[in-house]
């Protein structure tokens, strides 16, 4: 069953079109990420689902009910804000209990449910603190508890982790995911961080300039993107432009040939891309593979990357165990299969 | 529920006094406030019980007084000659009815300056001086002009008494109310003598106390007050005549109880009330033939006759223009 259905939603601010006829279904219990750069309309979409903004056009359904015109306070959603938006004048307990108080839940039940929610986020010991007395991670958890204590039909998260530093962010990702699993909450997570989106989500929506570019599982989005934009946004990519020969080879302008990982119509002028880990560096032979110059090795500790100059581009190649070591300035060939992007898809 | 109680409480807070007073006939009197009102109030009990009315006082005189009279918010208004004539010109007052205000006949003729009002008492503006600083007794208004007191004399800003002084100076120098130039020329010289134009009695008292001022145009009653306050001053009525300070009273037109208001004016002119003006305020009653034994207030027909009191009907229309001249020629340096 679709828990959320967004049908042809547009949003216009004065003469600027923030969302252009967006349609999207979210399944019950699903964790869906909306990924895109700032200004792509992802937050606007989330706010429209929440009811914090009204769409200029289109409909929003939550749990089978049309809520397009409903104000936010009638929608039974949970919302986590980027900077947590905790009420500084209220204790942790009161921050979490406010929603229940507003629903006129009995005192005893409020107490039980708030304690339970705080236990879920491991904050039961700090119930009487004020937000200013908490660390960033603790504040984040209060914001989560505040959203989930109401047993909302959907949990909406607007870049909730971006205010945290890197280590804390990774811990919180794990906690967030397990909380979502435990409660079986349908969640929509807005982020500009592709790693976060890929690692957390059941499905990822990539947005660009107010439209959805692609919806798919993290694997689909990463390995078989449909457009150059998606390919470039979700990970490191090296693009090749050329004409398809024989259905599975891309002939580049400089004469090099790149084998394609999937068939494409012969004679079409298309783009294809490779990820750093798909490429194997070899000594140049006459195979026609793109040739470049080895520049240097970047060492990360657990892994390392090669930097290779290909014409006027510099591309990364993942170093694999057992790879030959190249000397700086040595000529290399890039042995790889490129993923063809949809023929009509525009270049960046 | 709770909010409604609060709102009701707030409304009640405002409404309470009106309800309390609404039960009884009421006469509203605009008076000068302070000690003056206190004095009038002393005898008001008898008047209230005799007429079954409650008298309440609003501290208002001058512009606010006349404004309230024009708006029919007061029954009786106190004022001075300037406001009296303005009120008459704007048709604010009833004529006093000699049949009700029977005490009119007992007054000094100078008090009955108009059919629309009456002077309840007179004060004397003369020269107050500090005998420890001033050699010999001043005798004339012109002593204020003496060069040895430059910077140490004072008078108020543009007020009724100074207007009388301008007119007096005009008259002494060949002018009159209609030819005021000589008066202003003389006053301009006085302006150069003065370092501070006082605006309140307590302020002048302080100036005398600190010896910043040794001589000033002031009221006789005030000099007695200063002596009580521990500042030894003397008062002299200049030979040209003391300037009259008059308190007038008027019945406001268009109020529901003008007859009662006339009775109130009559009450103010009764012997008892008149005597208190002398005893408590140091003013000369406008009623003749009172026994003021033991009260140190000048009280005689001759004294009232000698008071300087110009033709205010002529002056009032010129007061705005004269004020501008006063600021430019006397005050500005």
């Amino acid at each position: 069953m679709q828990q959320i259905r967004i049908a042809g939603v547009s949003k216009r601010f004065d003469d600027y079109l923030a969302l252009d006829r967006v349609t999207l279904d979210v399944e019950g219990g699903e964790f869906l990420s909306i990924l895109g750069p700032s200004g792509c309309g992802k937050s606007t979409l989330l706010r429209i689902i929440a009811g914090l903004e009204m769409p200029s056009d289109g409909d929003v359904h939550i749990a089978g009910k049309r809520v397009t015109g409903d104000p936010v306070w009638k929608r039974e959603i949970g919302f986590v804000f980027q900077n947590f938006a905790l009420w500084p004048h209220l204790s942790v307990f009161r921050n979490v209990s406010m929603g229940l108080e507003l629903r006129k839940v009995s005192k005893a039940e409020i107490d039980t449910r708030v304690r339970e929610a705080l236990r879920l986020v491991q904050l039961d010991a700090l119930a009487n603190r004020l937000p200013a007395q908490l660390s960033g991670g603790q504040q984040q958890r209060v914001a989560l508890a505040r959203a989930v204590v109401l047993k909302p039909k959907v949990l909406l998260l607007d870049e909730p982790l971006s205010a945290l530093d890197k280590n804390l962010r990774q811990d919180m990702q794990v906690e967030l995911k397990s909380l979502q699993r435990t409660l079986g909450l349908t969640s929509i997570f807005v982020t500009h961080d592709q790693e976060e989106a890929l690692s957390l989500s059941d499905r990822v929506v990539v947005m660009n300039k107010g439209v959805i570019e692609q919806v798919g599982t993290p694997q689909e989005i990463y390995s078989t993107p449909r457009t150059e934009y998606v390919a470039g946004f979700v990970g490191e990519a090296c693009f090749f432009h050329g004409i398809v020969e024989g259905g599975n080879v891309l002939r580049l302008a400089d004469g090099a040939a790149v084998p394609l990982a999937a068939p494409a119509p012969t004679g079409a002028r298309i783009a294809a891309f490779v990820r750093p880990e798909w490429i194997k560096l070899e000594t140049p032979s006459n195979g026609g593979a793109p040739a470049g110059v080895f520049e240097r090795l970047i060492y990360f500790g657990q892994s390392s990357d090669y930097l290779v100059r290909l014409g006027d581009r510099q591309i990364r190649v993942k170093h694999r165990d057992g790879d030959r070591v190249f000397a700086n300035g040595e000529a290399v060939a890039l042995n790889c299969k490129a993923w063809p992007l949809a023929a009509g898809a525009q270049a960046l | 529920m709770k909010r409604r109680t609060v709102v009701k409480g707030l409304i009640g807070l405002l409404a309470a006094p009106r309800i309390a007073f609404a039960q009884q006939k009421e006469l509203v009197v605009a008076a000068f406030g302070g000690a003056y009102t206190d004095t009038v109030r002393k005898t008001i009990g008898a008047f209230e019980s005799a007429n079954g009315v409650k008298v309440s006082f609003v501290p208002a005189s001058g512009a606010d007084g006349l404004a309230k009279a024009m708006a029919k918010q007061v029954d009786v208004m106190h004022g001075d000659l300037a406001w009296a004539f303005r009120g008459v010109a704007q048709d604010a007052f009833e004529k006093l009815d000699p049949a009700i205000v029977t005490n009119l006949s007992a007054l000094h003729p100078k008090a009955r300056f108009s059919e629309y009002g009456v002077v309840t008492n007179f004060g004397e503006y003369g020269i107050a001086y500090d005998p420890s600083q001033v050699k010999g007794e001043p005798t004339s208004w012109l002593d204020l002009w003496k060069p040895e007191y430059k910077g140490a004399v004072s008078t108020t800003g543009y007020d009724a008494a100074n207007i009388e002084l301008i007119v007096l100076m005009a008259k002494l120098n060949g002018g009159n109310e209609d030819n005021i130039d000589p008066g202003f020329r003389k006053m301009a010289e006085l302006g150069k003598q003065i370092s501070v134009f006082y605006s309140q009695h307590p302020q002048l008292l302080d100036l005398f106390r600190t010896k910043e001022i040794v001589m000033a145009r002031w009221l006789r009653g005030r000099v007695d007050w200063a002596n009580k306050q521990g500042v030894a001053l003397k008062f002299v009525a200049p030979k040209e005549g003391a300037i009259a300070l008059v308190s007038t009273v008027h019945v406001v037109k268009g109020r529901p109880q003008t007859e009662l208001a006339q009775k109130f004016v009559n009450h103010l002119l009764s012997a008892d009330s008149q005597k208190l003006y002398a005893a408590d305020l140091g003013y000369t009653p406008s009623r003749r033939g009172l026994d003021l034994a033991g009260i140190d207030v000048p009280y005689s027909d001759a004294m009232i006759d000698s008071l300087l009191m110009s033709d205010w009907a002529k002056i009032v229309p010129k007061m705005d223009a004269w004020k501008e001249r006063w600021e430019k020629e006397v005050v500005a340096r």
Binding site: - | A82, D159, F197, S199, D206, P317, K323, V331, A332
Partner: protein
């Protein structure tokens, strides 16, 4: 989303202001084009006479308007400087003190202005504590006249305005994190230059608000010039009041009021424009707003 109820929120204040301020103001402007017959009765024929009388007379322009504006501006300058240092000293005190220090700042406001000003006259008087101190320390060999001149009026105006300035600036100063100034010191700024480069620019909004408030209060000064000016320091609002209550020429009183309003508004617009263009020139300040 809730735009209609937001507009509704403006209804009480705007309607009360419209009925009890704008309408009277229109009346005042209308009045300023009428004249008085001398006894106070209005002559309703349209005339520019009041404005010509004011604007063509050097006395009204110099001794009244210019003096009012000049003294109000000087008093505002002093009020802001003194108020700023007061607010700064309060903000830098122990937090538990601060509410009480603010209470002290507001204390004078509870006492009637006339009474307060009469007391100030005692303080500044020939035998007052200030003169006693000056003579005792030998700074002056005999009491100097501190009263009944423009300086006395200035002192009085500053006294009246300072509490309001402190309140405006205190709030802003309080919201500036001390770390910013300390950060400046870690890169080598002396406490003084850290204050000048960080705290002062960041507190600009408070200074702006405080100075507007102080100027508004000073330009309307009434009791202070009457009492401390010894009747010689004429002020616009005193002139307006006396023209209404002594001369009983309401149209001319209204004219004085209108001219004061227009001049004040123009000066404030100019001031805000100047401050804004100054802040634009210095990017540090732009973030402060």
């Amino acid at each position: 989303m809730i735009g209609r109820s937001k507009t509704l929120l403006l209804v009480p204040s705007v309607s009360i202001l419209a009925a009890f301020f704008v309408v009277p103001l229109i009346w005042v402007v209308g009045l300023s084009f009428m004249s008085s017959d001398g006894t106070g009765k209005l002559v309703t024929d349209f005339t520019l006479g009041n404005y010509t009388r004011f604007l063509t007379d050097a006395y009204y322009l110099d001794a009244l308007l210019w003096r009012t504006v000049r003294l109000a501006a000087i008093a505002t300058l002093f009020s802001v400087v003194i108020g700023y240092f007061g607010a700064l000293a309060i903000v830098r005190s122990a937090p538990s003190w601060q509410p009480w220090l603010i209470l002290l700042v507001m204390l004078p406001l509870w006492v009637n202005l006339v009474v307060r000003t009469l007391s100030l006259m005692v303080v500044l008087g020939r035998t007052g504590p200030v003169n006693q101190f000056l003579v005792w320390t030998g700074i002056a060999d005999r009491p100097i006249p501190l009263l009944f001149n423009e300086t006395a009026v200035l002192i009085g105006m500053v006294q009246v305005a300072v509490p309001f300035v402190v309140m405006s600036i205190y709030g802003v100063l309080q919201s500036i994190p001390r770390q910013l100034e300390h950060a400046a010191m870690t890169v080598g700024a002396t406490p003084l230059s850290a204050f000048r480069r960080v705290t002062l620019p960041l507190s600009m909004p408070g200074i702006l608000a405080g100075s507007v408030l102080a100027f508004g209060i000073n330009v309307e000064s009434f009791v202070v010039p009457i009492l401390l000016g010894g009747g010689r320091v004429r002020f616009m609002s005193v002139a307006a009041y006396e023209t209404a209550t002594v001369s009983n020429n309401l149209p001319f009183a209204a004219t004085i009021g209108v001219i004061l309003l227009v001049v004040t508004m123009a000066m404030l617009a100019l001031y805000q424009w100047a401050v804004r263009s100054m802040t634009r020139a210095r990017p540090v300040l732009a973030t402060a707003g």
